[in-house]
């Protein structure tokens, strides 16, 4: 559509004072945290959880629950944005940066993308740059509490600068690749990169 059609009678909510924090088409969900997933929520005991980083790395590595939590970790606060149009400001996550895990495995020449896998079989693809330099986290707490199963516990990926489906729940593996390989939602019509500020919701969005 070339012109932008005003909807008769629609005024919308009062514009939030911190409107600049909301990417286009998003609304502030406040302290509520909507739950969306495409498959049954798995109950994964800590002792049966682990995370492997492999593919185009120098030395594949697997962390179990205790090994992950014994790493130097931190709590960081982010605004998160879901493609279904809710945003949640100031959500704090406790975990380790993906970068710090890649320091253990190394990154092989030619690695350009990462495919994140969940224990459910869910996958999502990301450019490698989007998970480096403290832009992505592997977390086990949200807002000071252990991550609930419906939010991806025991451990999920958090990539706050991309739509939240990229932040795979029930994270089990990060696979480094020399090409882009579509994940679950991406094969089902959603965007390969998913930058909320450019409103890259669906395949075909610029």
């Amino acid at each position: 559509m070339t012109d932008l059609p005003v909807t008769r009678g629609f005024t919308g909510r009062r514009r939030p004072a911190d409107r600049d924090r909301l990417p286009p088409g998003q609304y502030d969900t406040g302290r509520l945290w909507p739950v969306l997933s495409a498959e049954p929520t798995p109950r994964i005991p800590h002792e049966r959880w682990d995370l492997t980083i492999d593919g185009l790395v120098l030395e594949p590595h697997t962390w179990d629950w205790d090994a992950l939590r014994s790493l130097p970790h931190s709590t960081t606060t982010h605004d998160i944005h879901c493609v279904t149009t809710w945003s949640r400001f100031d959500t704090s996550f406790t975990g380790v940066s993906v970068e710090s895990l890649l320091e253990v495995t190394g990154v092989a020449t030619g690695a350009t993308h990462v495919l994140a896998h969940s224990s459910t079989g869910y996958t999502t693809n990301l450019p490698l740059d989007d998970v480096r330099a403290d832009r992505a986290w592997v977390v086990w707490e949200a807002d000071g509490s252990p991550l609930a199963p419906e939010h991806g516990g025991p451990v999920r990926l958090v990539v706050p600068h991309l739509y939240f489906w990229k932040s795979a729940k029930w994270l089990s593996r990060l696979e480094l690749l020399d090409h882009d390989e579509q994940g679950f939602w991406e094969r089902n019509g959603y965007h390969d990169r998913g930058d909320p500020w450019r409103e890259q919701r669906y395949q075909g969005d610029a």
Binding site: M1, L4, P5, V6, T7, R8, G9, F10, T11, G12, R13, R15, P24, G25, Y27, T29, R31, L32, W33, P34, V35, L36, S37, A38, E39, P40, T41, P42, T84, T85, T120, G121, Y122, A148, E150, H151, F184, W185, R187, N188, G189, Y202, Q203, G204
Partner: protein
């Protein structure tokens, strides 16, 4: 996770279009039903897909929400059944303000996962407003002359709180009410022995409803021997 056969391509979002409201009614408390005409060719969606509604204020402010369609794939109009959410910015507008002839932006169809191909034996569990995409699937099954391929389980508090309940019952859906009796069935969630014959033989299961319902339904399905990988979930709702 593999795609269902026959739905790996075809429909997809094609950008925003201007939809015209052709019918509005309020068939039950808390719900508005809209039937929308979209220009160009008849909509080609798959049973279970959703559309995005975008409203635009005169200062450029927009709000958009996703709604499943109840239309069967061949329906020339896109039917939405929208539940009013507390303080709902979009649902409140659709309930209170929209009238026939109005236009707003629409995008879709979207989603190639929560869809039924019309061929695979399936069971669908719906809770409350989660019936909407299941109605699309059921209409599809009826239109194909194969209602036997899709068994439907619907759970609601009461008859007057369940959208499409008459249509669902008329096409053979099993309805369990939790707060009032239905005929000789005393108010209760579905019993495993009620579900087992409906689940038997299903190769894919669809679950649509709130977070609590989705958890309940997937546990029941797994207890009845359905593999997690065969269960497709569309859930909504929040945690505090």
């Amino acid at each position: 996770m593999p795609d269902l056969p026959g739905v790996s391509d075809g429909s997809g979002p094609s950008g925003w279009e201007l939809a015209t409201v052709r019918a509005v009614d309020h068939p039950l408390e808390g719900y508005v039903r809209l039937r929308l005409e979209v220009p160009g060719e008849a909509r080609r969606h798959l049973a279970g897909q959703h559309y995005v509604v975008r409203l635009r204020a005169d200062d450029g402010y927009t709000a958009q929400r996703s709604y499943s369609t109840a239309s069967a794939p061949g329906d020339p109009l896109v039917e939405l059944m929208v539940e009013r959410m507390p303080d709902g910015e979009v649902s409140g507008f659709l309930h209170d303000e929209v009238r026939v002839g109005d236009t707003f932006e629409l995008r879709g169809p979207i989603g190639r996962w929560f869809v039924w191909d019309g061929e695979t034996p399936a069971v669908a569990f719906a809770g409350g407003s989660g019936v909407v995409p299941i109605v699309s699937m059921l209409r599809h099954a009826v239109g194909l002359g194969r209602p036997d391929l899709l068994r439907v389980v619907v759970v609601g508090r009461s008859l007057d709180a369940l959208p499409y309940v008459d249509e669902l019952r008329a096409t053979g859906a099993f309805v369990a009410l939790t707060r009032e009796n239905l005929g000789s069935r005393v108010a209760a969630p579905p019993y495993p022995e009620e579900l087992a014959p409906l689940v038997a033989g299903a190769e894919v299961a669809f679950v649509c409803g709130g977070v609590g319902f989705a958890g309940y339904a997937t546990r029941e399905l797994e207890d009845l021997g359905v593999a997690s990988s065969a269960i497709r979930v569309e859930q909504f709702g929040v945690t505090g």
